[in-house]
Amino acid sequence: MAMKPCKIKLLSLLAASVLSLGGCQQESKPDVWPDGTVVIEFWNGFSGPDGAAMEAIVRKFNKEHPKIQVRMQIIPWGTYYDKVTLGLAFGGAPDVFVLHANRFPEFASHNALSPIDSFAQNAGLRREAFVEKAWDAGIWKGTQYALPLDVHPLGLYYNKKLFTDAGIPGPPKTLEEFVDTAKRLTKDKDGDGKIDQWGFSFTWLHSNSYLFLNQFDTGLLTKDQKRSALASPQALQALDLMEEMIHKHKIAPTPEGNDAWMGFQTGKVAMALEGVYMKTGLDKQKDLDYAGVAVPQFGPKQAVWAGSHMMSMPRKLSPRRQEAAWTFIKYLSDNSLTWAEGGQIPVRKQLLESPEFRKMEVQFAMSKQIPYIEYEPASVSYNQVATYGDSAVEKCLNTNESCLEALKIADRRINTVLERE
């Protein structure tokens, strides 16, 4: 067999990276170049159309601030956190970087971020001027370490043409309407016994399942974030409902092995629950007539999954660089309307009420959900426990395993991790 001896390789990689601990703490970049400019490294994972929007803002910033030059590096999200984490641990971290709200606690709790309370205060940024939940997502144990750039809830995308063709006046708002609409849009058009147009399809199981859990007034963890909430009857109800859409109502295909989003883009799926950030990709699909609105209410509670991009600085940063980094962070926040055009919702209340934002149809429609957005649990172990939750949802919807059994296993694994903390 010619399989590579990966264990040894990985082990040495692991060790080699740790061994370099003493070697490359922080490379000796000058804080200020001889001509007085401060160069700021800015990392993010905006590798989609959003990257272009961010690049435009950075270019504008560099033009307006001759003494600060921002160098942006886009690293696809898939490897982004590895690079940031290694940079923070062993040197080479950027001066400003983006964290998702759900990953923020992990970094804040390990003391890797710089407090920004005083910067925010001096700049006159107040909690009241922001979407409060987003502002709070950047606070860890009473100290603010990150400033939210945006908020991105899920929304209901629907294909307007398919709706008109089927004589459906508008998007569904309740579970009953949703199932009924989806049934009318699920069709075997060529009569070969196979469905070739689905009324609905699950796209990203992670966000989709959180939406259902949240609407049944539960989530991955209990409210105090000390235990798993997946063994609760509500969690089972939420997942059962998702499962029923596939097997009982037959309005959605089994998620595994389907590129559901591609299906929506090509008119083979009539409705999907996706983030506001997917909008830009849809706009490129010229022959697609779609709209994005608030998600329907499936469960007893009005709620919707949301995430945020948070901007932060590493702990080890000289005052001069910190100053420059903050200037950039604040600039991004001030200009988050430009950012919103790329499929985001700003978190500055003033911008939310601006006429420019009202013109962004999809963003504006989805922003109406802000009062009831739900972030993922702010847990230090979020990253680990989330994979167990996702795995349960995957098992429940894709295999014959019972949802109850899958949830029980995830519940036990999550509790084990939380107990070890």
Partner: protein, 291 residues
Amino acid sequence: MIRKRDGLAAAVFLLPYGILFLIFVLSPVLYGFWISLHKWHILDTKIPFVGLENYRNAVQDDLFVLSLVRTALFVALTVPLGNAISLLFAVGLNQNFRGTTFYKVAFYLPVVLSVTVLVVLWRWLYSTEYGLLNYYLGRLTPALGGTKWLNDPSYAMPALALMSIWWGAGGNMLIYLAALKSVPRELHEAAELDGALPLKRFWAVTLPIIKPALLFCFVISVIASSQVFGQTLMLTNGGPADSTLTVVLYMYRQGFGQYQLGYASAVAYLLFLVVFAFTLVQFRVLMPKKG
């Protein structure tokens, strides 16, 4: 005097490799053990010594146990069948007929592919809707044409194993071929005179002589297969429903997904212990008896 000089020369020749081995293999391995005794999140500045706690946690973690079982399944699927195929190819190519060189190259070629190329290629072959495999299966029996090779928990591991066998068979084939060439012709002739049929001759003459090669290939294959990583990471990423979650993938997720360096190192050492124990057993069973 000459002896001493020889020893010195040998040491000098070994030195360059010895130094590299020490720096890049031995010390990381030992350092890994030290890491495994600590609770170490990659961002932590305080790293508490926890003794064997990581090992205890791993053994109690059902996902780790599950990954061990999955790895064992992968080894069981690939090693015997893979070696049998390699040996079969080698026996075939050991016959005198035209074009053996062509077949040698053809069978060996997959070995030089990188895992990325391998996975891209086979992902297409295995595709449920557009795959070549399902196309031909569908022509044989329509019911098989829709097999979800990579999306059904019961098929994913066999699919992974099949791909890996195809990838690696050529490597062992060369070793077997070399071993077969070393079997003295006279022994075969003598057996033939005694009336032994080809299968009997293979069993009674060839096999005992190539036993060291068998041992070598089996041990190396088991070690390599228990470390399967690239294929699972890229083809199935452990799924569906953890059906292809192997130990090294699990370790990778702990180390580079959760950044739990201590725990991941403990997992690596546990895998090492299991493979080491299994190798000892193999030596016991397959080692030619002395005298």
